[in-house]
Symmetry: C2
Subunit: 302 residues, 2 copies
Amino acid sequence: MSLLVIGTMAFDAIETPFGKTDKIIGGAATYISLAAANLYSNINIVSVVGDDFPQEFLQMLKNKSINLDGVQIKKGEKSFFWSGKYSQNLNERETLITELNVLQNFDPVIPDNYSETEYLMLGNLTPAVQMTVLNRLKTKPKLIVLDTMNFWMDIALDDLLAVIKKIDVLVINDEEARQLSGEYFLSKAAQKIFTMGPKYLIIKKGEHGAILFHGNDVFIAPALLLDDVKDPTGAGDSFAGGFIGYLAKTNDLSFENMKKAVVYGSATASFCVQAFGTNALINITQESITERINQFRALSSF
Amino acid sequence: MSLLVIGTMAFDAIETPFGKTDKIIGGAATYISLAAANLYSNINIVSVVGDDFPQEFLQMLKNKSINLDGVQIKKGEKSFFWSGKYSQNLNERETLITELNVLQNFDPVIPDNYSETEYLMLGNLTPAVQMTVLNRLKTKPKLIVLDTMNFWMDIALDDLLAVIKKIDVLVINDEEARQLSGEYFLSKAAQKIFTMGPKYLIIKKGEHGAILFHGNDVFIAPALLLDDVKDPTGAGDSFAGGFIGYLAKTNDLSFENMKKAVVYGSATASFCVQAFGTNALINITQESITERINQFRALSSF
């Protein structure tokens, strides 16, 4: 059994009110895998980078038992690069630079030794590429989770709807749920989105937590109240990685266990935002995760 | 032992995307008392109305064992009137008309038979009037809860800070907490506000729930996901009424019990918004409250 993660591996240059970075390592697949690796160990990535991507970082991922056989390294080409600047309250961000580079012609290849994928995480990426991955899998995974964003709803809605039809869990934020469904109230939005295919919907609300919907069941996880948020980049990916990592580890798709997975996702995201880039995710300990889970329980039980 | 509620009793004309009302009955003291009356029965009001305020409504309050000896009825004068219009998503509202009328010279009188006040709810009102009430009480209540809004922070901050110094629990929304403290992160805002006097802070976040702070203890209550919100008017007052009503009923100021009070406040507010004006609050049953409390437990436990 294994977890397959599809997504970008990239360089980011980030500016927040709390600091500014040069090119540091980012990308959805990077954040998702590092987040999941704190909970589960049989992780495979499918992605693409240029030969400018640091070997030491790839080695660090391998040391965490993350399999990179599906990561294509394009000779003489450059990795995907994104640069963005966050607003004073971190709730909005402006894209300054997007250089697709190797992503432009990304043709995902799934190595033979990835074939036993039971858990599939389709990280935020062109819906057409997400679909190609689904089509190239030899067996249907037990659970397919998809992360996407408003950008794809704006420019590739038909492609996106075609992928959404084939997945189990959709992970988006509240504004995206409203845009996709055309409904303002989130419970109505969820019911509309269920008619598009997914059986589960997770709505991320940033500092306001996350909501899990399944049929008429609802679970609301609060977000920890952090007073040292440095950089929100990768928070959504870390959430998704913690969520699917916990499910792959426990291999239990009951609603009760899904709730716990959402809390693990929230806890993982809470680490991510406390440092720039992937630094916090790389250094999480098991004890610190357990401590945060206990914090979640304390602040929501009555 | 009794609960004293100070606040407006008024007429509102409300427009939301779901309907429009002529003058209907509103006001902070009205909402708070009706909310608290579902949980506790020894409630006294101090307020002021004109002789245009309907006798039948006053009688209905009396029938719910709400004591109106402290409600001054000004002959030949008109009750406070507010008219407002909500935005499409109900998150913003525009004030169309404010007629202070009897409120202009409101001099609160506390009847002798109100003297054993253990629980005091200072509803949203001019800080100077809230202070007058505090000064006119013969004995110090066991718990003083204050609700206020950004309007008073803008035009009467010094008066407001003087009242805040003397209370136990401050109830405001997230933007108001940021304005009052000058801190963006809510946990930092809470610590700053504690230096101003209150030992407890409740931050209302509307559809995102409410947070209770006390020292380093934090409790986050989600909001129920309603898909039939009609009118948010009075939601904050209903929250405050449910909160203090539950505390007066149980007479237990432990943090554990305060958490429950916050959930009762949220449950009460969830009824309020499902109908225009006070209609939903008037018709709550004990069974329906219990049912909502169970819903809160189901959607937040993991």
